[in-house]
């Protein structure tokens, strides 16, 4: 228990410093674009509305722009613009609504359907979108998702993906040269995704990761918590989407051969949340569990607890009963230092609960 007492003051002091640095909440415009039927709305529903992959069959085509405000971590509101991909709409975005759509964009997520028959046409549309974007929001981050990768045979998946990414990069470079874009190189991040496995979580976690304010503060706090409780790994999840917001891995934990573990755990827990909601009859987006613990004999222990109002914390520990209980208590105490995650909106609710 000595460990427990030692940890409290140090974490508390650290929390005090950072609270002043917390930035004001900001609205970011996130454009979700791509050809009609490429799966934009499906992935949005899976990530933010807790659909399971099967359910997305029920979704119809998006008409014009589907605007949604996704609250993320309390103080970060994602202004998500799901743009219907039919050609008539696309032309409309590029002409009449050009300023309206492309100004003040934080992130553009462009979805390519790997199965598309007419790649040239896709690329042409992509280039015209890029030209509009670089005109009105030159600082926007660009993510290219090569989607429906499950339809490609596993052996050639990597090669097909690299091929397509090369093509996209080449088209982007050609366009930039032609247009004499002042901002220099465009920051473009490609991902291979599929709604049928965890690859989707990987892409979205990294998109979200870049949008979260005060990230370095969260990371340094997680690291000191991790060291104090002798954890192997800490994962901080957002409450509704169960995307990994931030993580910390110990030196030993980095030897874990499963490299896609974060998105796998997101996927596993999210599916289980569905099961619980069927069992309890509560809505899918509601909070489903407060604590989960698993002690696997002499191998490892793990617990996942409701951390702050908007987050869950998963802790992977080496075996040991006392270590496990102390870590659980320490994490409950550490909540106080992570309160800033909930931002000013829920600050009142938090303090009254405490």
């Amino acid at each position: 228990m000595a460990d427990l007492e030692a940890s409290t003051p140090s974490l508390g002091a650290m929390g005090g410093d950072v609270r002043n640095e917390v930035k004001k909440p900001k609205k970011k415009k996130v454009l979700l674009m791509g050809k009609s039927g490429s799966g934009k709305s499906s992935m949005r529903s899976i990530i933010f509305s807790n659909y399971i992959a099967r359910d997305t069959r029920r979704l119809g085509a998006t008409i014009d722009i589907d605007l949604s405000h996704v609250k993320f971590l309390g103080n970060l509101t994602l202004n998500l613009w799901d743009c219907g991909g039919q050609e008539a709409f696309m032309e409309n975005y590029l002409s009449q609504q050009r300023v309206h759509v492309f100004s003040n964009v934080g992130v553009l997520i462009y979805v390519f359907d790997i199965e598309s028959r007419d790649v040239d046409r896709d690329m042409a549309t992509y280039v015209s979108i890029m030209s509009a974007l670089t005109q009105y929001s030159p600082t926007a981050k660009i993510y290219v998702l090569i989607h429906k990768m499950d339809l490609i045979m596993t052996q050639v998946r990597e090669a097909v993906f690299m091929d397509r990414v090369k093509l996209v990069r080449q088209k982007t470079a050609e366009f930039l040269q032609g247009s004499n874009f002042a901002g220099g190189d465009v920051d473009l991040t490609p991902f291979a995704t599929s709604i049928w496995d965890q690859s989707l979580y990987k892409a979205w976690a990294s998109i979200i990761h870049d949008l979260v304010p005060n990230l370095s503060v969260i990371e340094s706090q997680l690291a000191s918590l991790g060291v104090l409780i002798e954890a192997e790994e800490l994962l901080l999840f957002e409450r509704t989407s169960f995307l990994v917001v931030s993580s910390w891995t110990s030196e030993e934990g980095q030897n874990n051969p499963t490299t896609d573990r974060q998105e796998r755990i997101s996927n596993i827990l999210k599916h289980f949340k569905q099961s619980i909601s069927r069992f309890t009859g509560t809505p899918r987006n509601a909070e489903q569990f407060t604590l989960m613990e698993h002690k696997a004999g002499g191998r490892f222990s793990i617990f996942c607890l409701k951390f702050t109002t908007n987050t869950y914390l998963m802790v992977i520990l080496p075996p040991g009963e006392a270590r496990f209980n102390a870590a659980k208590l320490n994490c409950q105490i550490a909540r106080e230092s992570f309160k800033f995650l909930d931002g000013p909106i829920s600050a009142g609710g938090q303090s009254s609960a405490a």
Binding site: N255, R261, S275, M292, K295, G298, F300
Partner: protein, 357 residues
């Protein structure tokens, strides 16, 4: 000491020789169907239940042309024989009926509820009559399959219709109380696991004692429902005497899945020696093995809904006890763990005693 609930090392040595506890064959037969395209779903059932194939991938399974024997390494070793639908075993002299049915425990007959089942029912009747004369102990389980997508009323209508047709035929031939049971199943939900569970339970000797143990545990620890699961197949081999409902079975079996999946991520790699040694130093100053309270996997989850916890405890390599507890029992977990420990010892003794010598 590898287990799916605690994790395993990368394969370094071969698993020990398979133990034969019980040799009971539960064979899967189907109605004779001359038309190959019309399949009732036998192979899909065994792939989903015993090989963890996702239901939507069963579309790619090929039609069964020969008898396929599948051995399950589980708490009791049993075999599943998958019979092709188009072979008539009683008319074909090349089949050794005695070798086939001599040791059999249960016969599962799959009927496609979405197809015209009259012929299938007629063939089933012939089979039951043949079997009843020579092997009256074989339990006959009829799976009325592919009922997903049918309305509840319609399902029950079909079940009633098939039941009446079979019972009438049997009583016409003088078999009043033939051991025939009917189940409505689908591979797209948990009903197929539930039906298989009921079949396997009939093959367990002294099931009553097992159930009594679990009922006792539920009363002592105020559990809502307890299941003894075969971890790999998600079949439950015993439960307490509270009425079983699908919802609690589903959540328990999904919970096992979650634990297996998480364990695969974090329990499947060996930690370095230096690291383990460093964990034994200050402030603990204890061997790592002594720091651990239980060598078996223990798990618990508290649902937000009325703070209802679910608990899981590994019994042996193949079995796990999963229970749904009542509100706020989490505070009494240590006590619950002690009680569960006693019951687990009892279960182990039970399997030791009932193991065929």
């Amino acid at each position: 000491m590898d287990s799916p609930l605690r994790g395993r090392d990368p394969p370094s040595e071969l698993e020990g020789g398979s133990r034969i506890l019980l040799r009971r064959h539960s064979s899967v037969l189907s109605p004779a169907q001359l038309n190959l395209e019309r399949l009732s779903g036998k192979s899909s059932i065994s792939s989903v239940v015993f090989h963890k194939l996702p239901p939507n991938e069963t579309l790619y399974l090929e039609s069964t042309a020969r008898i396929q024997k599948d051995s399950m390494a589980s708490f009791m070793d049993f075999q599943v024989w998958d019979f092709p639908g188009q072979i008539d075993i009683f008319d074909n002299p090349t089949f050794d009926i005695d070798a086939m049915f001599g040791e059999i425990g249960a016969l599962i007959w799959v009927i496609d509820a979405q197809d015209d089942y009259l012929e299938a029912v007629a063939r089933l009747n012939v089979t039951i009559l043949n079997l009843q004369r020579t092997y009256p102990n074989i339990k006959i389980e009829v799976f009325i399959h592919k009922v997903d997508g049918l309305s509840d009323d319609y399902k029950l209508d079909i079940q009633r219709d098939i039941t009446i047709r079979i019972q009438d035929e049997l009583s016409d031939h003088g078999f009043e109380n033939a051991p025939v049971t009917f189940h409505l199943t689908s591979i797209y939900n948990h009903s197929i696991f539930e039906a298989f569970s009921k079949v396997i339970q009939k093959l367990i000797p002294r099931l009553g004692s097992l159930e009594a143990m679990l009922t006792n545990l539920c009363r002592t620890c105020r559990f809502e429902k307890a299941y003894l699961f075969d971890v790999l197949s998600k079949i439950y081999i015993a439960t307490d005497n509270a009425p079983a409902d699908m919802a609690s079975y589903e959540i328990c079996s999904d919970y096992i899945d979650v634990i297996i999946d998480i364990t695969e991520v974090y329990g499947s790699w060996p930690r370095s020696k230096g690291y383990r040694e460093s964990l034994e130093g200050a402030p603990w100053n204890q061997k790592l093995d002594d720091q651990v309270a239980s060598n078996w996997a223990e798990s618990c989850m508290v649902l937000t809904d009325a703070n209802r916890p679910i608990m899981l405890r590994e019994v042996d390599k193949y079995l796990a006890l999963v229970a749904i507890m009542k509100d706020d029992s989490y505070d009494k977990m240590p006590l619950v763990n002690m009680n569960v420990d006693v019951v687990v010892q009892g279960l182990k003794e039970f399997f030791d005693i009932t193991k065929p010598k």
